[in-house]
C-alpha cells in the first residue's frame, strides 16, 4: 500500500488496520459458513452458521468504517467483492479450507483466543466509533472462544478417533500461528496514535491459554520453534485464498449492479 519513498500517513495506517481486521473476519466467516447445512449435528450446524454470521457482521461494520475513512466512494461490498487475492490482508490461518469439524474447531479456538486478547486491549482505542465496534464484537468473540474451547476439550479428551484428529489439526495449523503476532509500520503508527495494540504484549497470555487448554484436553502442544509461514499482512497467501474468492466473488462480479428486491 505504501511506496518506499513515502511515509505512511495516519489515514493510510488506519485504513490498513481496519482492512486487516475486517479481512480476517470476512474470510474466516466465509469458511465457517461452508458448514451451513453440513454440520455434524443440527445444534452445531446452527452454532457455526451463527459464528459465521457474527464474523461477517464484524467484517461489514469494519469495512463500512474503512470506506468512510478512505473517502473514495467505496462501500463494504467493494472491499469484499472487488479486490483480488493480493489485496486481501487476512491471516493465512483464516483462509485454510475448513477441513473436518476438528480442524474448524481448532482453528476457531486459536483465532478466537487471539481476537479476545487483541480486542480486550483495542476496546480502549481513542476513537469512539471504532472502540464501540470493538466492544460489540468482543462480546461475541467471547462466546466463540467459550464454544470452541469447550469443543477442543471434548474432542481432545474424547475418543481415540476424535483425539487423533484434533491433534493432527493443531499440528497442521501450528505453522500459521506466528503470523498472528506479525507487526509492521501500520501497527507502530496506530499504537502511537492510541488506536492500535502491541501484540507482543499478550503473546505470553495467548500461549498460556492455548497450552493450558491443549494440556487439559490431553493433547500435545506442537513445537513453537518449527518453520512458520509469513506474508499475509502484505498480501502473500496460500493457494487456497484465490479459489475461495473465485467462488465468493463470482456472482457479484458477473452482475455488479444487481440488487436485492
Amino acid at each position: 500500500m505504501t511506496a518506499e519513498t513515502k511515509e505512511l500517513t495516519k489515514k493510510e495506517a488506519f485504513l490498513n488496520y481496519l482492512l486487516r481486521l475486517a479481512d480476517d473476519r470476512l474470510i474466516l466467516g466465509q469458511r465457517m459458513s461452508e458448514w451451513c447445512g453440513h454440520g455434524p449435528q443440527l445444534e452445531e450446524d446452527l452454532a457455526m452458521a451463527n459464528m459465521a454470521l457474527d464474523l461477517i457482521g464484524h467484517a461489514t461494520t469494519l469495512y463500512e468504517y474503512a470506506a468512510e475513512i478512505e473517502d473514495e466512494g467505496h462501500d463494504e461490498d467493494y472491499f469484499a467483492y472487488f479486490r483480488d487475492d493480493r489485496d486481501f490482508t487476512n491471516l493465512q490461518l483464516c483462509e485454510l479450507p475448513k477441513g473436518d469439524f476438528g480442524f474448524t474447531i481448532a482453528r476457531q479456538f486459536l483465532f478466537s483466543a487471539f481476537s479476545y486478547f487483541q480486542y480486550e486491549r483495542l476496546k480502549e482505542a481513542k476513537d469512539e466509533q471504532f472502540a464501540g465496534m470493538i466492544n460489540k464484537h468482543l462480546k461475541e468473540i467471547k462466546y466463540h472462544l467459550r464454544h470452541s474451547r469447550e469443543w477442543v476439550l471434548r474432542l481432545g479428551d474424547g475418543t481415540e478417533e476424535s483425539h487423533n484428529r484434533i491433534q493432527e489439526s493443531f499440528d497442521e495449523l501450528w505453522m500459521y500461528t506466528d503470523e498472528l503476532f506479525y507487526m509492521d509500520e501500520v501497527d507502530d503508527l496506530m499504537i502511537k496514535e492510541g488506536m492500535g495494540v502491541d501484540s507482543s504484549e499478550f503473546k505470553k497470555e495467548w500461549k498460556k491459554l492455548v497450552e493450558e487448554t491443549l494440556s487439559e484436553a490431553t493433547l500435545t502442544v506442537p513445537d513453537w520453534d518449527q518453520f512458520m509461514m509469513s506474508g499475509s499482512r502484505n498480501g502473500i497467501h496460500t493457494e487456497h485464498l484465490g479459489h475461495m474468492l473465485a467462488q465468493m466473488q463470482f456472482l457479484r462480479r458477473s452482475h455488479p449492479d444487481a440488487e436485492w428486491k
Binding site: 445444534e43 452445531e44 446452527l46 452454532a47 452458521a49 451463527n50 459464528m51 454470521l53 457474527d54 464474523l55 461477517i56 457482521g57 464484524h58 461489514t60 461494520t61 469512539e128 466509533q129 464501540g132 465496534m133 466492544n135 460489540k136 464484537h137 462480546k139 461475541e140 467471547k142 462466546y143 472462544l145 467459550r146 464454544h147 474451547r149 469447550e150 491459554l209
Partner: protein
Amino acid sequence: MSTIQLHTEQQIWDFLREVTDPEIPVLNIVEMGIARKVEVDKAGKVLVKITPTYSGCPAMNAIEKLVNEKLEERGVEEFKVKLDFAETWTTDWMTEEAKAKLKDYGIAPPEKTEEEGDFLKSLSSTKVIPCPFCESFETKLVSKFGSTACKSQYFCDNCDQPFEHFKCI
C-alpha cells in the same frame, strides 16, 4: 394535518414504539433498547440513533428501513436515521415490561448481566434458566446458539418442552 408540523421528541419516541422487531414481533425497538437517541433541532429536523443488538443481526437493515417508513408515514418531513456504535448494546437495556412480554411469548428473558470476574476461569460456567412455560428450574442448555444470533436453546425436563433463551450479553 398541517404539512409543516413540528414534532416533539416525545412524539418521535411514540412513533418509534410502533416499530416492532421483525424477529420478535411482540417487542418494539424502544423496549428492546435498539432506539437509543432522538434529537429534534430548532428547524424540526429529526435525528434518530439506533444501535444493533448483534453485529451480524440480519434484522438490523429491516429495522432501519422500518424506522424510515414509520417516520415518513407519520408525516415527519426531515429526518435522519443513524446507526451508532458509540454505545454497546446490552440486554440490560431491555425494559422489565419487555422481558415480561418475551416470557409470555415463550422465550426465556435475559437475566441481569453480571461482572465476569476472571472471564477465562469462568469459561465453562452455565447459569440455570427457568422454563418460560412451567417456571421449573429443571432445565438444561442444549446449545449456546439458537435460531437467531440473540438466542440459545434449552430443554425443560419438567414439562418436556424445548425453549429458547434470550442470551444475556
